[in-house]
Structure formats: C-alpha cells, structure tokens
C-alpha cells in the first residue's frame, strides 16, 4: 500500500526519483550541473547501472540464478531508450519465469511475487512500473488455474503468456497511434507537453499519412525535454514552435487540441504526468479545447489521489543556471495529478475510452 504520506520535508534534500533519472538520461539535454548530481546519485544504484551515458551497456546476465538477477535483467531492458520502463519490467519478469528452477506452480508464483516486489521497491516513485508488475502478476497467475497435468507444460504456457504480454505492450504504442489518427485533421494545431514517446509515435504516424498540422511544444522545464521533442518533430518535417511553459495560456487560443502522455492513469480516470500537465489541462478546459491523453493500458494503477499532495513524492534536481540562494526552498516535485474532469478522452491500446472507464477496467482486472 502507499506509505503514509505524512513525511515532512527533511532538511536533507529528498532522494532523486530514479524514474525521472532514467527519463532524463534518455531524453534530456545534459548540463554539467546535472552531470554532477547524477554522478552522486549513481553511487546509490546497483553496480550494473552506469550514470549519464548509455554507451556502456552491461551484457545481459547469462546465469541469473539469484534474486538480484531480476534487477540486472530489468536494467538491461531499461537502458534501451525506446523501451518504456514498464515494458522492461515485464520482460524482466518473463525472464524470471524462464530461468526459474521452481518445480511447482505455487513455488513459481512465490518467486515471481518476490521478483516483482524487488522491482517495485527499487523505485517506489514509478507508477507505471508497479502497475505493470501488478498487471503482469495478475495476467499470468490467472492462467495458473487452468488444468495442466505437467508443471512443465504450465510453465511454458506462462512463459508464452508473459512474452506475449511483453509484445502487446511493445505494440501498444502502434495501436494508440492508429487510433489517434481520426482525431488529427488537416490544418489543426496540436499542443504537446515535454517529451512523450507515445505522443511522438502518434505524430510520426500522422506525418507519414501526409496530414498537414503544426505543433506547439512546451519547453518542459526542468529537464527541458521539450527541446528534444521539437528536434525530433522538426526532423520529421512537421512545423513546430517551442513555447516556454508560461506561454501556454498565451498561445491556447490558436491551439485546436492538446496531446499529452501519462506516467500513470489512476482509478478516478485522472492522470499523473510531468509537472505542468495540470496547468495545461486547466487552461485548455477553460478555453474549451479538448485534452487527449495517450497512455498504454499497463499504466492503469490502483491509486486514487485526492489532491496534488496525495501521491508518493517524486523529486528531481532543478538547475536554475545560477546557484540557489541560501534559505530558499525549491519545489522539486517532478509530477502532478490532473483530475478526470479536465480530460476529454484517453487513447489507449484497449480503445478510445472516457476517464470513467478506467475504474471499470481496473475492477474487471483486479477484483
């Protein structure tokens, strides 16, 4: 369950969220200051992880055996810039099944549960990671009730299901991209926030279908991932304009729709996403612009925040370019919660859904 969210901000700066660390590694513009932070943080990580540059990939562990293997496997998959963290987790768990030496179903399930808990505790702030782990457990253990004479047959079936689940998750982005094509029409202006691989996939597909549209991209401070996004969009030949985060309201009247991704979709139908999403959704709502969220279904989590502070805090370092004066506190939270009333539709690999369907799906899956 969620830890009791009653922690007061401690005088020591809170630990950097590994999830956002990864995102920064993959997508951010690297600054020297950030490098220093990252180097310091990397010391706390398992030995397989290299900070900053993704050049040195550790080889996939050949003989996993012990429980630490799942983390290594996970890191291997995670290093790939294109892989979502959740998919990496799913692949890692599938590998656990493959390499497991259990002889009964119960034993295998217990092993899987242990691996899943280990992954979750590795980074407590990542919603999609824990959601994907839970989902995988659920998906896989549901089949364990099927009649199978031999354990080996059951095990191979589980591996099959696990890998299939991994494949589905990998393909989720393509499904979402296909579904979103109906929403983008010629001559429209789309606002995107920061760098989201799903949204990029959507826009890529639209561009390859020869649709004419233009994109306004927010800078996405503090990691300035928006610059990377605009880089990629420009490479696709899509006219793109970069805005600073404060210019969203100013430009909202020329926008036709807002596309955002999500770090997690919660039970109320709202989303948890990079800091700034709530602001954009509020402005869009007040100006009657639709907000579309592109999120894979493994991001559905059984959380229910009541307000912004009701989530596990996830912090990240913010580089102001100048040193922060002493005695001044900085809000370093990396994400915010957008309530469902500000969202128009969720585009997922399960289809185009309204926010209230999320709870329906979760109930069917988990209860």
């Amino acid at each position: 369950m969620e830890p009791d969210a009653a922690q007061n901000p401690s005088p020591v700066p809170p630990p950097i969220s590994a999830y956002y660390q990864t995102r920064a590694e993959h997508h951010a513009v690297v600054s020297s200051d950030w490098l220093a932070h990252a180097a310091a943080a990397a010391a706390a990580f398992p030995p397989g992880a290299d900070a900053a540059d993704a050049a040195a990939l550790p080889p996939p562990p050949s003989s996993p055996g012990a429980g630490g293997g799942v983390i290594e496997e996970f890191n291997f998959w995670r290093r790939k810039p294109e892989a979502a963290e959740a998919v990496a987790a799913i692949m890692a768990l599938a590998a656990v099944i493959r390499s497991s030496r259990a002889t009964t179903m119960m034993e295998l399930e217990i092993e899987l549960k242990k691996a899943s808990d280990k992954l979750k505790s590795w980074d407590a702030t990542s919603i999609s990671l824990s959601a994907a782990c839970d989902l995988f457990m659920r998906f896989v253990t549901r089949t364990s009730h099927l009649e199978h004479e031999k354990f080996d047959a059951a095990k191979s079936r589980l591996i099959e299901r696990g890998e299939k689940f991994g494949e589905i998750s990998l393909k989720a982005r393509k499904t979402i991209a296909m579904l979103s094509q109906d929403f983008i029409y010629d001559g429209c202006t789309i606002l995107v926030h920061g760098y989201s691989r799903v949204v990029l996939e959507v826009l890529k597909l639209a561009a390859s279908n020869r649709k004419l549209f233009r994109v306004l991209c927010t800078e996405g401070r503090p990691d300035r991932t928006g610059l990377r996004m605009s880089n990629e969009l420009a490479a696709l030949g899509i006219p793109v304009k970069v805005l600073i985060d404060s210019a969203v309201a100013y430009s909202m009247d020329e926008v036709d729709m807002v596309f955002v991704g999500a770090d997690g979709v919660v039970e109320s139908g709202g989303i948890i996403n990079m800091m700034g999403t709530y602001q954009i959704a509020l402005v869009a709502y007040s100006m009657n612009k639709p907000v579309y969220v592109a999120a894979e279904s493994y991001k559905f989590a059984r959380l229910y925040p009541l307000d912004q502070k009701d989530m596990t805090p996830a912090h990240r370092p913010i580089d102001f370019g100048v040193p922060v004066p002493t005695g001044v506190e900085v809000e370093t939270s990396a994400r915010d919660y957008t309530p469902p009333q500000y969202l128009t539709l969720l585009l997922t690999d399960l289809g185009v859904l309204t926010p209230s369907v999320v709870s329906d799906e979760l109930i069917q899956l988990y209860l």
Binding site: M1, E2, D4, A5, A6, E267, S268, G269, R302, Y304, L306, D307, D310, P340, S356, S359, D360, I363, Q364, L367
Partner: protein, 610 residues
C-alpha cells in the same frame, strides 16, 4: 396516455385533472372547501352553488379544477374513484372529500367497466352503487352550474369518453385473459388485469394478498415473491385501502400533508405504539422477535442502515429457527410467504431502507435456491448459517475493509468533517486515533434528530479533539476542513448518494470550497435504481418534532394542524448528486462514483443476490 404510466391521484378518490403545487389565487366560482364524508352525498350539490370567495385556497383537497402550471393527467381507471369506506378518522375526510363533485364524468366510466369481473371486487361494489346514485344527482346540478364550471365539465366529459373507450377496450382484453385462467380466485383475476395495465404501479397490496392465498403458482411469478414493493405510491387510495385491510398496525393518516409528497406515507406518530404493545401476546401470524424489531423501529430505538438490517436479519433467523412447515406445503414457498408477511409488517412500522431491501432479496434468493432434497432441519440450519454469513461478510468484514482503505486517506494534521452519525465513519475515526494519527474532527449536526450529539460524546470519550456545530454554520467552518467523511444509506446506479437529509448540503458546500468528499458505504447497500431528486422516493418523519425547539417557552406552532394554510415537512433522506462526491470507499476499494453500476454488475451476479 400510455399504458405504463401509473395513475396519480391526490385528495382521495377524486381525480383532479390538474393538481396545484404552491400558492394560487382563489377562483370565486369553483367550490373548494372540504366536504363531509361520502355518506352525505347530496350535501355537495348545495355547496356547489354557494359562492366560495372566502374559502381558503391552499387546502390539500385540490379537486377544484383550477389551472396551475403543473398539469397532471387524469388516470385511466375508475376503481380508485370509489372512495374508501367512510372512515371515522378525521384525516380520511380530507382524503375522501369532494369525491362526488369532480368525479361525475368518471363515474360514467366506472359504471361501464364496473360490470366487468376484473374490476368489481365485492367490497367495493356497494360503494360504487352508492356513489353512482349520489353522483347522478350531483351531475345534474353540476350541469346547471355557472359557465366556467360547465366548460370544465365538458372537457372532462370528453376525456371521460376517451377513457371509457380505452378502458372498454382493455377490459375486453382482460375478459379474454380472465376467461383463460378459469377457476382462479377473484384476486388472481384482478392480479393479471392489474399487472397487464399498471406495470409501473407497485403491486405491494395485491402481491401480498395473492401470496397469502395461494401457494401454487407458476414459476414466472416467482419474481413477485420479492418483498412488497417498498415504494408503494400512497396517493393511490385504492391501494392504500387494500393495504390497510391487511395491516397489523392501525394508524391514522396525518392531516395537512404537503402536496408534493403525497405519494409517501405519513401517519400520525404515537398512535401505533400503544395499540401494538397491547397486541403483543396475541400475535398468531407474527413471530415475537419480528414483532419486537418492528416496535423498535417504530419507537426509533434501532436506527441507521446497518443497525436496522442486522436487527431484521437476526429476527428472521430466530423466526426460521422456530419455523415448521405446515402439512401439504413446500418449505421454500411457504417460508417465502411468511417472510413476506413479516416484511410487510415491518414496512408498516417503518418503510424499508435500501439495505434492508437488499438483505431481504438475498434471503429470498437463498430460500428459493435450497435444494429440494434437503430435510427441513437441514434447510433451516443452512438458511441460518447463510444469514450469519451475510451479516459477517457484507457488514462486519466489509466495515473492516472500508476502514483499512480509508485510513490511507487520513494524514497527520487533517481536519475531518463528518455529518450526523455514521457507524463506518466512527470506526474510521477510532482506528485513526488508535494508530496515533494527529487529526481533529468537526461534527456537523442538524435538527430535529440531532444524531451528531451521540457521536460527539463517544469521540470525546476516546480523547479525539472535536468541534461541534450545526448545519447552518457549514459554510463558516468549511474553510478549515481538509476532508469530508460521510456515510450513506445507499448509493444508486448513477452515483447519487442517498443519505440522511442534510448530506447533500454538506457535500455541496465542500465541493464549493474544493474539499474532497469521501463517502463510505458497504457494497451491499448499492442499488441499481436511479434517482434524480429527493422527492420521488423518500421517507416522511413526524412533523411534530419540528415544532419543539428546546429552550423556547412559547410554542408558536402548537395548533398547526388546524391551520389549513400551514404544512410541516420533516424529510428523512436526501439525494446527493455524484458531481459533489470525490470518492466512494467500499469494501471493494476506492471507486469513483461512476463505478457503482460496475460493482453492481460484476458482483451481484456472482453472488446470486437477485
């Protein structure tokens, strides 16, 4: 008018074409004052001609035919035109008044279809005759009345003719139907006729009657074995009279009833208890523990959704323990009929809450699903253990699950507001206090029940810091509140929370201040119906309780019943729209209000409640 729309009537057997809601100016030419009981039928004719300029307009026998913005179409059937047997109670006068005046065209209809088997039930035939005679006179008088009246009469006549034709057509259909089910009891004939025509009208009275008479029944009728419809519409006098005949509790209807809530029962409080207590030792059909629970409901000793449900189920468990199947009867059918009779008794004491309704459905489905091979004692023990399991799983353990979910939303330095007294909310506060969380509670209370005071005492005794206020100060205190915790009597399928009156106001103010509203409710209280307002289904409490303000020497409203212009209303429940609710906490977890039908869909069929 389509067949499915139930007939609506106010003021006794008369069918006013239009019903007045609110204030209106008196029309000098139309009669309006209450008339003497139906026996003195010629009298109204005299009154008709008397100018009525000075008569008080806002009485509840609004059969005067004044135009108002709210037009309610007249019913199609004449049977509820027949005013009930002249009852000694003064209240009935009001109901049965002006029967002859407006119903003259109706009686034509009654006359025509009165010959049909399905409509002429023996007890009423006599009254029909009487009224026909009386009305014939009145009609003649009416025809010679002043001009505006004539206009209305003719319009009524036209409609009456329309209806007569329609009724004749359906009567012809019924005649065929009745012919097919030959040899059945007369009530059974009435039943198919009624069910064919009035699908919406609750079949409480007829259902219970037929259940008691016949044990043999085609299986598709089994659905009607459900408890007598807890929402019988009380403005239908015919049904009310029928229900009264079967009533164990003698109660008199209240006077000066609010027009808008005519469809809900209201009796004069305090009249039933002495009568019932005296009958305690003669209760042949009724089991003593059920009787006891009924008395506890009447006196208000047992209240609250969970409390009432548990008390009722335990009483039924006792009753089942002492039950023996009569010879030549099957246990399941006879026991179901018995349970239904107990339920109708309990309804008379106090209308069912939704939680009780669901529990009764569960019990009946368990009885229906008993395998035939079981012996009587095995069946009884199985049912008793089912009841015990229901109470344990759906109420006790569910409460524990709710507390464990809700505790994650109580943080340190929270200010929690609660309204009234909910058992689950109290458990959450107790548990949070035990865990050592640092929080304080604001208890909001309201007259006339002042349920919050008991909760306040218990919380303070445990050492929880509390603030107490009344509901009129809710907007004053809301800015310091961080969370609102509310209980519910039921949650309906569109997410509407049906709860103690005042809850909707609290939720609305909380929403305006941006404070999250958490509603805690066990899943067995969910219901698949939908309600858009607090009027169509509710419970009317005793209006006299409103009068008594403590600490005031003078009782200004002492004789309120004598004043025809004054009506007191004491509602028990209200409906909170789902937009004001942030989250619903149930034993299945934390859900948005839109997911209530999902729970109903997924879990009712699994557990075979229906």
């Amino acid at each position: 008018m389509d067949l499915r729309r139930p007939p609506r009537s106010s003021s006794g057997g008369v069918e006013p074409k239009i019903r007045q809601v609110g204030f209106f100016t008196p029309d000098a030419s139309a009669p309006s004052e209450p008339l003497p009981p139906a026996a003195a039928v010629p009298a109204p004719s005299a009154q008709l001609q008397r100018p009525v300029a000075g008569s008080p307009p806002a009485s509840d026998d609004l059969s005067t035919g004044r135009l108002s913005p709210v037009m309610i179409p007249p019913p199609r059937h004449a049977d509820h035109l027949a005013p009930g047997p002249p009852s000694p109670a003064a209240a009935d006068v009001v109901l049965a008044t002006s029967a002859p005046v407006r119903s003259s065209p109706r009686l034509d209809v009654a006359f025509e279809i009165g010959d049909d088997d399905s409509w002429s039930c023996a007890p009423y035939a006599v009254e029909l005759e009487e009224n026909k005679r009386g009305l014939a006179e009145v009609r003649n008088e009416g025809a010679s009345a002043s001009i505006p009246q004539k206009q209305k009469t003719s319009k009524a006549e036209r409609r009456a003719i329309q209806e007569a034709q329609r009724a004749a057509k359906t009567a012809a259909k019924e005649a065929d139907k009745s012919g097919k089910s030959a040899g059945a009891a007369m009530s059974k004939q009435a039943k198919p006729a009624k069910t064919a025509q009035k699908k919406d009208v609750p079949q409480a009275a007829s259902t219970v009657a037929s259940e008691k008479k016949a044990t043999e029944r085609p299986p598709e009728r089994e659905r009607k074995l459900d408890a007598p419809h807890p929402r019988m519409q009380f403005d239908d006098v015919h049904k009310v009279e029928k229900a009264k005949k079967r009533a164990v509790v003698n109660q008199s209807e209240a006077r000066n009833r609010v027009e808008l809530f005519r469809h809900l029962p209201q009796y004069v409080h305090g009249t039933q208890l002495p009568d019932l207590e005296s009958k305690f030792f003669q209760l042949e059909p009724m089991h003593p523990s059920v009787y006891k629970v009924g008395l506890q409901y009447l006196s208000g000793e047992v209240s609250g959704g969970n409390g009432r449900c548990i008390a009722m189920l335990l009483a039924f468990r006792e009753a089942i323990k002492d039950y023996t199947t009569p010879p030549n009867k099957t246990l399941s059918r006879d026991l179901t009929a018995k349970i239904s009779s107990y339920v109708s008794f309990l309804i008379e004491c106090r209308p069912l809450s939704i939680s009780m309704g669901n529990a009764i459905r569960f019990l009946k489905s368990r009885i229906a699903k008993l395998p035939h091979a079981l012996s009587e004692s095995e069946a009884k023990t199985s049912l008793q253990s089912d009841i015990g399991r229901f109470i344990n799983e759906k109420i006790v353990l569910a409460d524990k699950a709710i507390v464990s979910h809700a505790i994650t939303k109580v943080r340190d330095n929270d200010v929690l507001l609660t309204y009234g007294s909910s058992s689950v909310v109290e458990m959450i506060l107790d548990y949070a206090h035990e865990l050592g969380r640092n929080f304080r509670v604001v208890v909001v209370d309201s007259r006339p029940k002042l349920e919050g005071q008991a909760l306040l005492r218990r919380l303070v005794a445990k050492g929880i810091t509390c603030t107490y206020t009344h509901i009129n100060a809710i907007s004053y205190i809301m800015h310091e509140v961080t969370r609102v915790l509310l209980g519910a009597s039921s949650i309906l399928s569109n997410g509407t929370v049906y709860s103690r009156v005042g809850t909707a106001s609290v939720a609305m103010v909380a929403h305006a201040f941006g404070v999250p509203v958490l509603v805690c409710c066990e899943a067995y209280k969910f219901h698949e119906r939908v309600q858009l307002d607090s009027i169509c289904a509710n419970e009317l409490g005793d209006p006299d309780v409103i009068l008594k303000t403590p600490g005031k020497a003078e009782d200004h409203l002492k004789n309120w019943a004598d004043n025809a212009n004054l009506q007191l209303l004491n509602l028990t429940y209200d409906a909170t729209p789902p937009d004001y609710v942030s989250m619903i906490i149930t034993d299945y977890g934390m859900l948005p209000p839109t997911s209530v039908p999902v729970i109903v869909r997924e879990y009712r069929k699994e557990q075979l409640w229906i």
